[in-house]
Structure formats: C-alpha cells, structure tokens
C-alpha cells in the first residue's frame, strides 16, 4: 500500500506492506535509526514518537495508518547538527542517560508533556515517565533533567 507521511517536516511516500510497524518504517525504510525498539509490545516506551504532536508507541502503530499524518522523531528535535534541544541539553547537564538506548523515547514523551505541564512536581514527573523504562540510570538523573528543563522554561 502507498503511504505518504510527513516525518520531521519532510514528506515521504513509500509503498509498504500493511503489517509494517511504524517503528520499522522509520528505522528501516527512512533510515531514521534514532527511534529504538525495546520490546515491541508497548511497555518499554523506547520507540515513542510524536504523531500529530502526541506521544505514541511506534511499535503499536502500522505505517499505513500514518497516511497524511505528521510524525516527529528524535532526529526532528534538533534544528541542526551540533545543536541540542533544551531538553536534550538538560539531559546532558544532569547525566540523564548512560547507554542512550531508551533516551529518544524519554525525550519524545517529555516534549509534549512539558509543553502541557510547564511546572511539574517530582511525583508528577515520575508518573509522566512511568511509560518509559530505563535500565541504566535508576531514573534519578532523568527526573533531575526534567526539573532542569522545566526551570529553564520547559521544553521549548
């Protein structure tokens, strides 16, 4: 089936099988390998991307369903190479990542969340992050990064 998707502002048209997961479409058809796949059953959150501005799990979505949609991946957060989104900056500052595999999923969950909740409490941050699993950091520095980003004016 033919599908046309705007990914990070660029339109892509591809012929795909209906069963192709959005995660595989982004990674293997478009070469946008910043989105990672951790469980393929919708628990770990590593594959989170934005679909029309909302954080969704790309492993639980088919590429064909995205016809006409706008998808944002971690590659779309940064205006140009060498620059960092304020949230990325905060992750770096707070040591909010170790192996970096889950990180894109956390960022993509947090971007819309911080836009909607500019001043979250620690408990609220932890709850917002509960759909993303990190096995390296124990979450402490991720929480710190979110607080840092929020203090500097949120995700934008």
């Amino acid at each position: 089936m033919k599908v046309t998707v705007a990914v990070n502002g660029t339109y892509y048209t591809r012929e795909v099988e209906p069963r192709l997961l959005l995660s595989d479409f982004l990674r293997h058809e478009l070469g946008l390998t910043g989105t990672h796949v951790g469980c393929e059953h919708g628990v770990c959150g590593a594959c989170t991307v934005l679909v029309d501005g909302q954080a969704v799990r790309s492993c639980l979505t088919f590429a064909v369903q995205m016809d006409g949609a706008a998808v944002t991946t971690v590659e779309g957060l940064t205006p140009a190479e060498g620059e960092l989104h304020p949230l990325q900056e905060a992750f770096r500052e707070a040591h909010g990542l170790q192996c970096g595999f889950c990180t894109a999923g956390f960022l993509m969950t947090l971007v819309p969340y911080l836009a909607e909740h500019p001043n979250p409490s620690e408990a609220e941050i932890r709850e917002a992050l509960s759909g993303n699993i990190c096995r390296c950091t124990g979450y402490q520095n991720i929480v710190k990064a979110v607080q840092l980003a929020a203090a500097k004016g949120g995700g934008r």
């Binding site: 469980c39 390296c136 929480v143």
Partner: protein, 802 residues
Amino acid sequence: MSVDVRERRGEGAEAARSRGALIGQSPRRLEDARLLTGRGLFVDDVQRPDMLHAAVVRSPHAHARIQGIDVSAALALPGVVAVYTAADLGHLNGPFSVLIPHDDLQHGRGLSALAVEKVRHVGEAVALVVASDRYIAEDAADMVAVEYEPLPAAVGLEAAVAPDAPLVHDGVPSNVAGHYVRNVGDYEAVRRQAHLILKERFRVDRGAASPMETRGVVAIPEGRGLTMYVSTQAPVALRAWLAAWFDLPEMELRLIAPDVGGGFGPKVMMMYPEEVLVPFAAMRLKRPVKWIEDRREHFVATTHEREQVHDVEVVVGADGTLLGLKTNFLYDSGAYSPYGIQIPIISATTLPGPYRLRNYSVEFRAVYTNTPTVAVYRGAGRPHGVFVMERMMDRIAEALGLAPMEVRRRNFIQPDQFPWDTGLIYQDWAPCKYDSGDYPALADRLERMLVGVADEVAQARAAGRLVGVGMGFYVEGAGPGPYEGVRVRVEPSGKVQVATGVGTQGQSHFTTLAQVVAGELGVALDQVHVVTGDTAAMGWGIGTFASRAAVLVGNAAYLAAQAVAEKARTVAAALLECTPSEVELRGGRAWVGGPAGAGEPAGAGGSAPAGARETVRSLPLGEVARRANPLRGTLAFGEPGLEATKFFSPQQSTFPSGAHAAVVEVDRGTGFAKVLRYFVVHDCGTMINPMVVEGQIHGGVAQGLGGALLEKLVFDEEGQLLTTTFADYLLPLATDIPAIETDHITTTSPLNPLGIKGAGEAGVIPCHAVVAAALEDALREWQVRISEMPINPCRIWELMQR
C-alpha cells in the same frame, strides 16, 4: 556529595595527588550529544542494501527429543533464502567449549549453535531461517515443522537434585555439574565451643538483566573476510574465539561492538548460538546477514541469573563476635554451564564481607535444570553472599538484643588490618585478599546520613504506618585481570585518539578515559577522541564486566598517556632547546620557560599568550607529533610520532566496599511495599568522574530494588517460562525508585597507579539484604522472617496473616 580522601601512605593514587587534574572532576559526557540526537550506532542501526535477515526457530519444550525437522514448507516461502539445522553446520555446530573450566566443575557442558537430538530448555535454538526481511523470516520460522517427543523436565533446584529427577544431560549424575568444598580455619572446632548457634535457609530466585537493547549480530562479508557488529561486552575476546572457530585468520575478522544499549552481564556470555549462526550464514550466502533478538526471545535465549538456596549456620560468641559460618548451597546453572562455576565461587568468596570471619566452611553444588542457561548479571553471585551474611548479622543482633549496627561494628575488619586475607581463592584464581578499606568509616557515614531517620520512622509508626529501616554492608571483588590495554596517539592535528579493546554499554568510557588522558597530556577534554570495542582499532583486550573497565582500562590509559607525555616532552625539549623536565604540557601545547602556570592560553590549543616574555616559548602538541614523524633522515626519538600502547595487568582483584540503608513502608491493607528513602555510602577508591560513579550507583540500586520487590522469572513445573513480557517481568519504573542519597569515602587501592577499585556493580549488591531487613522492621508486630527474595505484595500479605 562529599568526598573524603583517605590515603594510606606509600600506596597508589598518584594521580589524585598530582598531574591528573581532570581526575575527580565531573565534566559533562562527550558521548551525549551523539546519543541524545539519535546519532548513536547500535547494532540494529547497521544497514546494507543487500542485507538478509535471520530468525531463529526455538524449542517450545523444556526437555524433548527432536524426532525430525521438516524445513521444506519454510524453504518454499518466497523471500526465504536458507534454512539451516544442526546438520548443515557440521563440526561448526559445537558443542562450544566451557568458557571457564575449573577443577570443581566435574561435568561442564557447553552450548551448541543448534540443538542436536535433544532440546534442554524452552527457547533453545533449533533452526535458523534467513530471508529478505525479518517479517518473512518470522513467517518461515513458523513453518519449520519440528517433531518433538516431550520428556520430563528437571525444574527447580531441590527437584533437580532429588533422586528420581529427570537428567538434563546423559552422564551427569543427579544433575550436579560441579561440587565445591572449602574450609578456612576449623568451623567444626569452633562450633563445639559456641555460645549461640543460629540456622536458616535462604533463597534468592531468578531474575534477568534485561538491557533495553536486546542482543544482535550483523555479519558482513568484506574482502576475503568478515566484519561483524555484535552487541557484546567482549568484542576482542569474541573475535579471537570466532576466528579460531571458523578457522579464519584474525586479520580477516573485524569485530565491532558499536554503541551497546546496556549489558549488565549477559552480553559478555560467549558463545551465544547466534554469534556463530549469523556469520556462518553470511559466509555461506556471501551476503550481509542481520539477526536482532526480539524481546520474547530475549527472555529465553539470553542468560539468566540469581537462583540459589543456602542452608546457613553461624556460631556466635556471647559478645556478638562471629566465630564461624557454614553454608551449604545449591546454584542453578540452567541447562548448560558455559561460565562453569564462576558465579557460585563469587558467592562463596563474597559472603564473608567486611567481617573478621576466621572459621568458614562453604560447600556448593552447581545444578543443571531444564531452564535457560545461567550466567552473570550485575553483581554476579555477590548479592547472594551478601544476602546470607547480612541477614545472619541481623539475626545475631536480634538474638543478643544488640542494635544491627553494633553487631556489625564488633565484627568489622579494622583499617589497620589491611591487606586482609580471607583465606579463599577468588574467581580470578588470585587470593581473595582485601587491598584497602575502612569499614568503620562507612558505618560512621551511614549513621550520619541516617540522623533524623529514626525520628521520622518513629513518627510514622506512631501514626499507625508500617515503616521500617534496614541496612547492609558488602565488600566485592572487582577489577579482575588478566589485563587491558590502551593505545594513545597524538595526531598532527593536535587531536588525541585513545583506543581500547573493551566495549561500552553506557559506562561513559568516552568521557572518563578522555579525562585520564587529557590530564596527562594537557589538552582540552574535547580534543580526546576515544574508540572502544573495535578490533581494527585495538586488537587486545578482554571485556567490560566485573567492574573492571575503570580499574584496568583507566590505568592502562594513564600509563599510555604518561608514556606519550614523556615522549612529547623529549621531542619538544629538542625543538625548544631545553631539557625534557623543563617542558610543561598544557593548553594543547608544550611550554618551556617562565614560572609555572605563566602564559596559560585562553583556550585549547591557544596561540602564544599575550604579554608572554621572550623566554616563554611553546609549540602546539600536534606540531610536536608531526616533528616526531619526519619525512627524511633518521628517527631521532625512537619510534615515530607521539604514540604509546600500554597494558595494565593487576596481580589480583580490588575490593571496593559500601553500606546501604533503606526506609520501606508496607501498606497495612494491601501488603504493597514502597521504598521511601535509600542511602548509599560507597568506597570505590579513586573516582575518575564522581558524576559517572553516582550514575552507576543509581542504576545499580534500581536494579537491586527491582530484584528485591518486582523482578522474578517464573517457570511452571514443566519448565515453561511464564514471564516473557514486560507486563509480567516487572522492571522498575520511575514511580518505583526513590531518589537515592549517596555519600563516598575514598580508600585508594594500592594495587594500581590511580588507586581505583571499580564501581559498576556496587549499587545492586546489598539491595536484597537491605530491603529484607527494612521489611522485617516495618512488619515487626508480626515478627516475620524474610529469607526469600524477591518478595511480592501477595507474599508479604501472607506473612502478615500469621
């Protein structure tokens, strides 16, 4: 965080004293910009236009005889290129040798690439399908018809050693792979004069490391050989093994561990069947082949850890002195024993902890069961030993009416008793001899952190809440040999390349090794580029495990950087017409003349400083490197360029230590436990980057708390694994882990130049013990005994019904 540096005279820690100005600082990580923007390279990110994709057909039975395999339907599916079974691999199928043999491993059994005749656990590989994409490969894998004759399965430690248990391997009586007995002192003698004898049975159940990235192998035929990308913790060792296995010259097999999305032990295991199957297929088909493990496979095809049952007895003096300890335990090896008896040896040797244990009797049996193979997972047997010892410390305290901390203090090895020889041989075949430490200081620090906690707890309890405190101490062997090496090279551009054979799974090597090298060479941190885990860049090395990277690679980097610095001073001295000792390396330049610190340039590689006196002269370090590599004439300075390769090989392991405490609350109605606060005091010797060390501790504690309260692999009686999703195997979420409060002391190791002791596993080690103690304290009105981990709300509630 505060750092208390306690150095022992004449021992190690040169860098903490002198030149390595960057050691001990916490610069932001050099690898982050790449990883944050989706520009990392993980194994599944490796793409080639003509890549084929593999899927593995796995056994649904825990124990069965293979009566036949029909691959015809699968082969007929369009897009399928090949289907391989054991017969296709011939002698390449294995069985692979046992990685770490041992005299007490009487019946070692290695894995094979694909099962022959029998399958011995759910998930064992039976066939490999190669197709044009992974979707089709999975379609075809479904169509491989394997005829099984199910056999009774040996599941569960006690059941597997029962007289009538089914045998996992022919020729292994009672399923006992190995039997180990050691005695230090004379336990039986001390037992006869005991004031108090306490006994208990302890159990730690199965868990899994579950890195967020599963395993993966890519093999690309290139030239006459092969380039492989493997999500492994031991790339150089894997290359050596694979080259030998396939009879390839090592120079024709390049192995790269790219960014690895978490390892925590299982990714050091060798050989996994897929590490043989994928290159086999690629060479056969002369096309790149990729296999990425999916999460369901990961639960049954990647190694597990943690299952042990201990029968323990302690002998105690009237004053609470631990006079002797005896343990007899079973260790579940799973279906094979690629790692031999390393884990139970680590448990046996970790058990004594920070205490003066002079009469110690330990015996274990490593047992085969029809479950996935058990190998190392962060902590690797250490949590078990600590669980047993710390629980017994709490039991002694209770029996004698002493405070838990007081019993421990009465038994600590004292700061002037180092080196302390436990009388045992460690997993690295070297004496288990503690290098340095100050356990009373750990206790002091922990008590300081807990000031006020007693009042909080008392208030909560007065309000009817079930809140308790628990603590645990540990000493862990870390940083075992044999060696690691680092090559440091200053380019004419002034940039510094640092190459090491170990891979990285998030431990920040790109930053910490750069810190070590930048400090010695006087260059800015961002001028140092670290290459890890690529056999083409560095062909010597072992791997990243056992908290050894900072100890071994860190020191090797230090030695190599020192050698390069010395050469740079020699070359620069000739160019600047002075003696080498007059040359100072800083700011990316070699300086001579002027008082120390004069003419500090504004930035990295800065030009001659404003107002510099005539006598102050300098050269960019890159220029020195270029001049050390002449186009004509002869080499005036030994070998060309500014480059050195150095290895560090310790005589024995280091022994970091720590103390943890937790405040835990149990919901009176539901039995749900929540960790309210968590405290860590830690001593890993010199810290290269305290921010990174703390990150390691946070992550370790999260895994430890997960292992105590959430994570449990559950098998049914037939060996079916019932927890193969993240909805049933419960990794801790952000809502499950409290903020972790940390403090450090530093007793440097005398065993290496930088005084480092290793920190990778520290966080996880005492968590079982700490949580169990806190739960018992919280539930003191029921006088419960917690001797099994992990524990879930249902079990807590059951204990509360007594």
